[in-house]
Amino acid sequence: MSELEPVHESPSDNELLSVQGISVWRGENLLLNDLSFTLEAGQVLQVRGANGSGKTTLLRILCGIGLADDGDIKWRGESIDRRRDQFHEELLYLGHKAGIKGALSALENLRIFCTLAGDEQPRADDATLLGVLDNLALLPVAELPCRHLSAGQQRRVSLARLVLQTATLWVLDEPLTSLDKAGLAWVESRISEHVAKGGSVILTTHAPLHIDGVEVHALELN
Amino acid sequence: MSEIQAFFHMGGYAWYVWPSFLITLVVLVANVWLSRIQFRSALLDAKRRVVAQAKKNNP
């Protein structure tokens, strides 16, 4: 985990992400109305709302891969458009789509993620990768093309990135869907470890969250 | 041949010159006309929206 650097021009030294007045129109409907919030180091934010309330849209905008009609997003006091690459190096996004290549095996998919994560990060060797896959009960299928895996297994492959890549901000879109109890507990303990190290998490989920020693802030979309 | 006839005769090229000017006229007028029609309909939409809003506010 890299040290959190002091932020200039920012009201709070702990403030990582600041969201100002995000609005999104879908045709005639105002999907997100003037949404503002800030996220500090060590905070967990759960975005709640019914289907179609704009949760995925919001997360994509926060990551800089969605368009808002209005509003500003700052990472460590700088607009995310201006310092996109630096922001993305500190960001880990698990999207609505798993982001896993069906033609490649779990091992190959994760190797690519680790390589692309950059030189500053400790490169995971195959033993580490296999260890993580073992923890997620994926060892027997580690060499199989991912399209043969079940939805829950594919989800776990992408979740393996949580321990393989280092990032300050996790943005997780429905990370708990199609997971069993063990998977759920695994994700929750990873989140609490991440938060303990000063990282932040924004996630959407329908299930209630139980994370030891962590207060989960809620953002309700309607 | 009177001067006017000569003018319309265009030295034998009438069938090329006049259609050129005619089609130009059509395209230019269509440009102006269409843009004005579209502006009208945009205004009409804006009006409808105002009326709908007014109805919503005091039914």
Binding site: L67 | M10, G11, V17, S35, Q38, L43
Partner: protein
């Protein structure tokens, strides 16, 4: 400087300014076009090589010049939109595309009508005509892309990128086509532009070019107003416009809203 741009680039200001300017431009345009036509069709003498058929240049050349000019305007506006995120620039680009396409079509149609007496055939793969044809395809591509993308912001950005790619490619396409056409059929007929043009013919041509420019400006202003109205339809200033808000008093539309 930046504030200045935003002050005068603000939608209500441009909407009203364009509305006030358009009629004046329209009148001047009409006057110039009519005097250009008078000088070109009646006063100017016939050409010693091409006889009366040369008079087609008074519509062909302005249309051809404008077809290129409008694309350049579109590309510059697209660049301004992408760099400074000025939504108004995107409105200019969007409004220009159909006008430019219509001028390109006009250049092709009149070029073909001019070519028939000169070359004996309606269509010839001459360098300039072919370039115009490809330009028409570029306009079609721009409009088709805009129409295909549902998300309005994304459509605007994608179209802007396409316009820029198009404008850097136009010279390459143009010179390739010129080279290709001389390779296959050496030019036998000297074109009007390649020798000195007598003032009695040049002045009406200049007037027609200026007239076409003003017509473009006039239509552009109206289309910009339409574009602003559509995009700002949720803004309160639109609802407060007299031409929009007089619905209660006067529901008759045509009388009150002359452009």
């Amino acid at each position: 400087m930046f504030k200045w741009i935003h002050r005068f680039g603000s939608a209500p200001f441009v909407y009203r300014f364009a509305g006030a300017l358009a009629p004046w431009i329209g009148f001047v345009c009409l006057a110039i076009l009519l005097s250009g036509l008078y000088l070109g069709l009646i006063v100017a003498p016939e050409d010693y090589e091409q006889g009366e058929s040369y008079r087609i240049i008074y519509v062909h050349v302005p249309a051809a010049i404008l077809s290129m000019f409008v694309y350049v305007v579109m590309a510059v506006a697209s660049a301004v939109f992408l760099i400074w995120r000025l939504k108004l620039a995107d409105i200019v680009a969007q409004a220009s595309a159909p006008i430019g396409a219509s001028f390109t079509f006009l250049a092709l149609a009149t070029g073909s009508l001019w070519g028939k007496p000169m070359w004996g055939t309606w269509w010839i793969w001459d360098g300039r005509l072919t370039s115009e044809l490809l330009l028409l395809f570029l306009y079609f591509g721009y409009m088709a892309l805009r129409a295909a993308i549902e998300h309005p912001q994304s459509a605007a950005k994608a179209a802007a990128v396409l316009a820029l790619v198009g404008v850097v490619n136009i010279p390459v396409i143009h010179y390739s086509v010129e080279w290709w056409s001389t390779l296959h059929q050496p030019a036998t007929i000297t074109k009007m532009g390649e020798r000195n043009i007598h003032p009695s013919m040049g002045i009406p041509l200049g007037l027609m070019i200026v007239g076409f420019q003003l017509l473009y400006a006039y239509v552009l202003l109206i289309r910009m107003r339409t574009g602003i109205l559509k995009r700002e339809s949720r803004a309160s200033w639109v609802a407060q416009l007299p031409e929009v808000n007089n619905t209660m008093a006067n529901s008759k539309l045509s009388g009150t809203n002359r452009v």
